[in-house]
């Protein structure tokens, strides 16, 4: 009799457990479940080696391969920029305009920095995405990279500045007229990923890395320093003088 009661009890318990557990999946907890999913860019980070993010974009969708994305670099008053061309550098200009290949890394020269007489910096710019302008507006609306004196002073002091340029979402745009004085960057700590932060506010399109690395003395190392001299395209009707040799950049033919 007691055996029958025990069996009945077990049977009822089994039926109840089946009823309550029906449709549920029992899984072990993943350690990642306890981490915040906000601000995570799981694969690509701005701290990756230069060119990694852009090369990954080339494997994505859209007509990005072979596209020369117009880019314009400006700085504080007096600062000039130039690009490597023909073994030397181009004529320096206060507004650097060129079409850069997506995924390639371009190193350009910064001279005439206010408060740092004779100092020259060689930042890099990596275009990681493109814009889709209407006809004949590609060079009128380039990716605007506006650097400030804080970037250069910090780099001269030996620190590393990483800027991620992003296309602002008009729905969440800052409600003020964009000028040189108001276009201040969003400062983040070194424990955050600027690529992920920029991805929250818009679409990241370029990464600028400003350090204090100077060109090597040996000309054989110059191609490595300039990331293989990727081709770039000047803007149409741009007045540009090539092959201007500078003292700090030895020619490859030396």
């Amino acid at each position: 009799m007691s055996k029958v009661t025990t069996l009945n009890t077990l049977l009822v318990a089994g039926i109840l457990s089946l009823v309550f557990l029906n449709g549920r999946q029992i899984q072990a907890a993943e350690p990642a479940d306890y981490l915040s999913r906000v601000s995570i860019n799981p694969v690509l980070r701005a701290s990756d080696p230069p060119g990694s993010v852009g090369q990954a974009r080339l494997m994505g969708r859209g007509p990005v391969v072979g596209y020369y994305q117009p880019v314009a670099v400006t700085g504080p008053e007096g600062v000039h920029f130039s690009l490597p061309a023909g073994g030397g550098m181009t004529e320096s200009t206060p507004r650097l305009e060129a079409g850069f290949l997506i995924g390639s890394v371009y190193r350009f020269q910064v001279t005439r920095i206010p408060g740092a007489l004779g100092a020259e910096l060689f930042p890099t710019v990596e275009v990681i995405d493109r814009t889709y302008p209407p006809q004949h507006l590609a060079t009128r609306y380039p990716i605007e990279i506006q650097l400030d004196i804080e970037d250069f002073r910090t780099a001269i002091n030996g620190q590393m500045v990483t800027r991620v340029i992003y296309l602002e979402d008009p729905q969440t745009a800052v409600p003020e007229v964009q000028k040189a004085s108001t276009n201040v960057p969003l400062e983040i700590s070194e424990f955050q990923d600027p690529l992920a932060v920029a991805d929250e506010y818009g679409r990241p399109v370029a990464i600028v890395r400003i350090g204090s690395l100077t060109p090597p003395k040996q000309s054989a190392l110059l191609p490595e320093f300039f990331f293989g001299y990727p081709t770039w395209a000047p803007f149409p009707n741009a007045k540009m003088q090539l092959s201007k040799q500078t003292d700090n950049v030895p020619s490859e033919r030396e």
Binding site: I40, M160, V161, E168, T172, E190, Y201, G202
Partner: protein, 407 residues
């Protein structure tokens, strides 16, 4: 001369007609003029780029001097473009570049104003509006029967991309900037990421090893029953003329014997060298003349039952430019028109400006008596509101113009 049997030249003529009819403008090919170039096709009005040639500011890959030849495509213009390498090559290379003709776009690059985004605007009894989002432009009015109607305008899009940046300073002295670690967002799942190495990616390309192209008759003057015709069927693409003329496939054309090739050359040359006074007359017995059949029919029949004497207002919005940089001033216009059968009253036009549009004070221009009101909205811009003092009769319209500065 009138022949009763099918002449071989008539065979050629018919084949060319069928070829021209079968080769529509939908599939034209753009290819690299040099051997081994990749091929892109046009699809409708857009431009489908190949992996080596994308739309826009694009040139040939890898610094190779390969001008692209455009065949049969009239929607894209070409110009020369210079590409410069920073290495030892002192002379810049010139490439052909297609003008921007992108079929895709990114909505984040455009500044939009107008329309009625979800949730739709609702007019409440206390004369307030609910569901008015930034970018919305609507008009609400009262009809002769006392009903309040709401109409949304079209949407105006300006190409006005704006770029900002995120800055991170790292290094030995950067610790002072960090207040504390709020969270760790480093991924723990990915142990290793294989970064793609530039220059090591192999791409397959479909290339023609060899192409035999025979020049056939470029134009054949058609004459039917002795009456001269004005239409000259021009062969638009000369790539496969020979195969199409003989009504054979390409594989069969390549397998022609020597005497057959001579026969075709003879007929082809004969068709070309005919003069006007010795035009060939061809009678085709077993072929029907090509005819164009339009397959049009009525798919549906909708009856719109408008209330008698009820007014309806149509609102449209426009801008004086299609692109703008930060700081530029854009003139917007809002036109409302009574397209109904009766007058409308209490017309109120509301334009809720988006974040990046700043109303220029005292820039209002209207061809009717209106009461203007501006209120700061949730987008840190202004909600502009015009109330017409008079009613709007049937067929009457009012145009409101104002200026905004792009932020």
């Amino acid at each position: 001369m009138r022949t009763s049997s099918i002449h071989p030249v008539s065979f050629l003529l018919t084949g060319s007609i069928l070829f021209v009819l079968g080769c529509g403008p939908q599939q034209l090919w753009i290819r690299d003029s040099s051997e081994g170039g990749r091929i892109a096709s046009t699809e409708g009005r857009g431009f489908a780029p190949s992996p080596s040639q994308s739309a826009g500011f694009s040139v040939a890959p890898s610094g190779e001097n390969r001008p692209y030849a455009l065949v049969g495509h009239t929607g894209t213009s070409h110009d020369q473009h210079t590409v410069i390498s920073g290495g030892g090559s002192a002379s810049p290379q010139t490439h052909s570049m297609s003008s921007p003709n992108t079929a895709r776009y990114d909505s984040q690059e455009f500044l939009r104003d107008g329309g009625d985004a979800s949730p739709l605007v609702v007019h409440l009894n206390d004369q307030s509006l609910r569901g008015l989002q930034p970018e919305d432009t609507i008009v609400h009015y009262k009809t002769g029967s006392g009903e309040v109607e709401i109409q949304a305008s079209n949407q105006v899009a300006l190409y006005a991309p704006r770029f900002r940046s995120v800055r991170q300073i790292s290094g030995a002295l950067a610790g002072g900037r960090a207040v504390g670690t709020a969270q760790m967002d480093r991924p723990i799942a990915t142990v290793k990421v294989d970064q793609p190495l530039p220059g090591l990616v192999m791409r397959d390309s479909l290339e023609l090893g060899h192409a035999d192209v025979a020049r056939g008759p470029d134009a054949i003057r058609e004459r039917d029953r002795g009456v001269p015709l004005d239409s000259v069927q021009q062969v638009s693409l000369a790539a496969n003329v020979m195969a199409a003329l003989v009504n054979l496939t390409s594989d069969q054309a390549y397998s022609l014997q020597g005497e057959q090739k001579a026969l075709f050359d003879r007929y082809a040359n004969a068709a070309v060298t005919y003069q006007l006074d010795e035009c060939l007359e061809v009678a085709i017995q077993s072929f029907r003349t090509p005819s164009l059949v339009r397959d049009q029919r009525v798919d549906g029949f909708t009856i719109y039952d408008f209330e008698e004497g009820k007014g309806r207002v149509q609102i449209s919005k426009f801008a004086d430019r299609e692109d703008a940089k930060p700081g530029d001033v854009v003139t917007f216009g809002v036109r409302i028109e009574n397209v109904g059968d009766g007058p409308v009253n209490e017309i109120v036009v509301v334009d809720n400006l988006t974040t990046r549009l700043e109303y220029v004070p005292d820039s209002l221009d209207c061809d009717a008596e209106v009461d203007f009101q501006s209120i700061v909205n949730e987008a840190q811009s202004l909600r502009l509101q015009w109330t017409l003092r008079d009613s709007l009769g049937v067929g009457e319209s009012v145009t409101i113009q104002f200026k905004c500065r792009v932020r």
